[in-house]
């Protein structure tokens, strides 16, 4: 029986995409002095809009504006007042949520049902949660009056453009810092709509500054002498470089880097539920998630049956137009990213892993990839070690819980892991044994502003969300020095 879905496209008119977007510095949208950049709609491969980018002098202006705002306004405000601004921003995001979801999907390529049901509401909730902390910092257990650090320089990736902006801006402001933030060059639009929300909330000029441009802008920003704190989310390679460049500066750093999350399925797992969780773990946001469950570890006794079930379910995923409300897997964010993913897939085939891909039809234009699964992989293969950052799952097997732990922990990364078992004690035991910052037991890819998120080992340090996320934006060094 054929079950065809009629197209159910969201209207792109809701986004009201402008022909040109400007950086947001010192409370106003001004032409930057860098080269213009087009931003592409990954769903079609066509130009979506043009963005004015910043020069080194613009970066100076933004950092100076943030410093001025920190000294003259933001650090002088009572916490309760800071909180009220953040509450306003939370409300503003919620009020423009449909527009923001469409902007995000057009600029990023992720399915509209994800931006609508996850990215945008989670961003609003993040501001709401942190708003409440602004006048309660003395209850964090970090002393009677924790102090902000000053000006935070922040660089965010393209996989969750609006949500990452919220993760960075909300805690920084709640703790009393001001912000200079740079979105990724392929996804600058949603944060510039957020800038409108921020301006409409009457946030004092200079408290949040948004710089557009590519990696060189980010590099200049994090190395700028006027910055007191650096927060970066992105690749481990760039994170390493930032840590190296900032050596000796005493500047507080938060790094949220790559991952190669293990998703471990035991023979007693509820298999249908596990199949759904594995799919969410690797195909959510086309697998372009730092905490993706990209290594499937299945207990040997059920491996053949389980992988077969998994393939059958993946076969039913609808891949295509991100704007269609029925779409499960949308577009890869850029042509360059698609190239990186397929290069690693070729390496996997060359090393002897067996590749299976869904037979779903792909749109002619835009950047698409069929959901794919590698079997017969070994832990030494590149597809088992390196972050693919795409809809590609690498499958391996294990026999005992100890072997599962050893294999899962055998990675320089340590961001996320999943455990699928009906046995509660085993789930809790595994959660303790896995060396990762987030453990999902019988679920995957759950996020909440109240629950801190961040990595072990080379997945970075510092936390976002929860009380420990606020600590990243406060002076917490309580050692007495002479």
């Amino acid at each position: 029986m054929e079950w065809e879905y009629a197209p159910a496209p969201e209207s792109s008119a809701i986004a009201d995409i402008k022909d040109r977007y400007l950086p947001f510095i010192d409370g106003t949208f001004k032409e930057g002095n860098g080269e213009d950049r087009d931003t592409i709609n990954p769903g079609t491969g066509e130009r979506l809009s043009t963005v004015s980018t910043v020069s080194a002098a613009d970066i100076d202006r933004a950092v100076n504006a943030a410093r001025r705002a920190y000294q003259s306004v933001w650090s002088q405000l009572p916490g309760a007042e800071r909180g009220k601004y953040l509450f306003r921003i939370a409300r503003g995001i919620a009020e423009r949520s449909r527009e923001l979801a469409v902007v995000e999907t057009l600029d990023n390529g992720k399915p509209i049902k994800e931006t609508r049901d996850f990215d945008v509401p989670a961003a609003a909730q993040h501001f709401f949660y942190h708003a409440g902390w602004a006048d309660k910092l003395q209850h964090l257990g970090l002393g009677p009056a924790p102090q902000p650090l000053g000006v935070a320089g922040q660089v965010i990736p393209w996989n969750f453009p609006l949500l990452m902006a919220a993760w960075k801006i909300a805690p920084a402001l709640a703790a009393g810092n001001t912000v200079v933030i740079k979105p990724a060059e392929t996804t600058p639009l949603s944060i510039l709509v957020l800038a409108e929300v921020i301006a409409d909330a009457d946030l004092p000029p200079g408290v949040v500054n948004i710089l557009t441009g590519a990696g060189d802008v980010g590099s200049t920003l994090v190395n700028h002498p006027g910055i007191d704190k650096v927060a970066f989310t992105g690749s481990t390679a760039v994170g390493r470089r930032i840590q190296r460049e900032l050596a000796g500066t005493g500047r507080k750093i938060t790094l949220e880097l790559g991952g190669k999350g293990a998703n471990i399925v035991f023979d007693d797992a509820a298999q249908d539920q596990a199949v759904e969780g594995i799919i969410n773990g690797i195909f959510f946001n086309q697998g372009q998630v730092c905490c993706a469950g990209s290594r499937l570890l299945v207990q040997e006794s059920i491996a053949d049956e389980f992988v077969e079930r998994l393939k059958q379910r993946v076969e039913t995923l609808r891949v295509g137009d991100p704007m269609d409300k029925n779409t499960d897997v949308g577009a890869i964010n850029s042509k360059a990213q698609l190239g990186r993913i397929t290069a690693l897939m070729k390496a996997g085939i060359a090393e002897g892993a067996e590749l299976w891909s869904s037979s779903c039809p792909l749109p002619k234009n835009g950047f698409y990839l069929s959901p794919s699964i590698f079997t017969n992989a070994t832990p030494s293969m590149r597809v088992a070690r390196e972050e693919i950052f795409g809809p590609v799952l690498t499958t391996m097997t294990f026999r005992t819980p100890d072997e599962a732990v050893t294999k899962a922990n055998n990675s320089p990364y340590g961001l996320s892991a999943g455990v699928w078992t009906e046995k509660g004690s085993r789930a809790m035991g595994m959660a303790a044994a896995l060396r990762s910052g987030v453990i999902w037991d019988n679920t995957f890819n759950r996020f909440d502003p109240t629950a801190s998120f961040g990595g072990y080992k080379e997945s970075g340090f510092g936390r976002e969300g929860g009380p420990s996320g606020l600590a990243a934006y406060l002076d917490t060094d309580d050692e007495v020095v002479r």
Partner: protein, 295 residues
């Protein structure tokens, strides 16, 4: 006829044993007048690598020990230090030329510092962890866990109190440490190793190397199986190089903002520097045990 004293051979402390440096090298520890005190082992890069292997093994046992057990073991160290108080007072007076009063104050403060941290082990989770009220049907909690193997560069100015003040917070959280002792103070450091060796601290949890900090520290900072660094004992110029090396494996690095006053009450910064926060999500499901009954 007076008794001819048996002088101690100061060796390294690796994996709970006291080996000589595999290199066969030694250097001379001098007292405050510049007179010969003892020969100390001049640790090599190979010794350091052995110490990291031992620390990784020690970490496996120590991180699994209960918080109560870790607290008792650290308290036991305080007991052992107390019983050897006179020996440490004498050593500090000899090596630093300080008065009995100052040396005694330092040893007393060191004993108290261990007692302070012994009481921390079973409170970290309550202070630094949380139950997270997530807006979905999950029980979510965040809890501190040890970072792993920590490389510690011990400070030079405070031979016993400084050494204990950098080691104790690291092991309190469940980490293991490879300590590079202050170059001028190998005798105090190795005597403290004897205290650790008699306190049920599992082998490898504390490993102490004596020798040249400038020679050993870069290898510690670059070692891929070291998860974090405490640079307290490194000079400003050395620090920058070590931080650069540490970045290659994204190590956590603790750098004091000045010269720590170890006589002051310790805060929690040193504890927090070597702890990771892990968040766990566990479904609560749609199952309602109250059966939808309203009360």
């Amino acid at each position: 006829m007076s008794h001819l004293a048996v002088s101690k051979t100061y060796k390294l402390f690796i994996g709970g044993a006291f080996p000589r440096s595999e290199s066969g090298r030694t250097y001379q520890a001098r007292d405050s007048h510049g007179n010969f005190m003892a020969n100390a082992a001049l640790a090599s890069r190979k010794d350091l690598r052995d110490a990291v292997v031992a620390a990784r093994k020690g970490y496996a046992a120590w991180s699994k020990a209960t918080a109560y057990n870790r607290g008792q073991v650290i308290y036991r160290m305080a007991e052992m230090l107390q019983s050897r108080k006179a020996e440490f007072v004498e050593l500090i007076m000899l090596s630093h030329g300080t008065s009995t009063k100052i040396a005694t104050t330092e040893v007393d403060a060191s004993i108290d510092r261990l007692v302070h941290y012994a009481g921390w082990t079973d409170k970290l989770a309550a202070i630094l962890g949380s139950s997270n009220p997530v807006s979905s049907p999950y029980f979510s909690y965040s809890t501190p866990e040890p970072t792993g193997v920590v490389g510690v560069l011990a400070p030079a100015d405070s031979p016993l109190l400084g050494l204990i003040s950098v080691i104790a917070p690291v092991i309190t959280g469940g980490n293991a440490c490879v300590v590079v002792a202050a170059e001028e103070d190998p005798c105090v450091a190795i005597t403290l190793a004897e205290v650790a060796g008699n306190s049920d601290v599992p082998p490898g949890v504390i490993d102490i190397l004596t020798g040249k900090m400038a020679e050993l520290a870069p290898h510690l900072a670059a070692h891929a199986d070291v998860n974090a660094l405490d640079l307290t004992g490194a000079g400003a110029q050395l620090r920058e190089h070590l931080e650069q090396a540490a970045a290659e494996t994204v190590k956590r690095v603790y750098v004091p903002r000045g010269i720590p006053d170890f006589a002051a009450a310790p805060g929690t910064a040193r504890l927090r520097a070597f702890l990771e926060i892990k968040t766990v999500w566990h479904p609560t499901g749609a199952l309602s045990l109250s059966g939808g009954t309203s009360y």
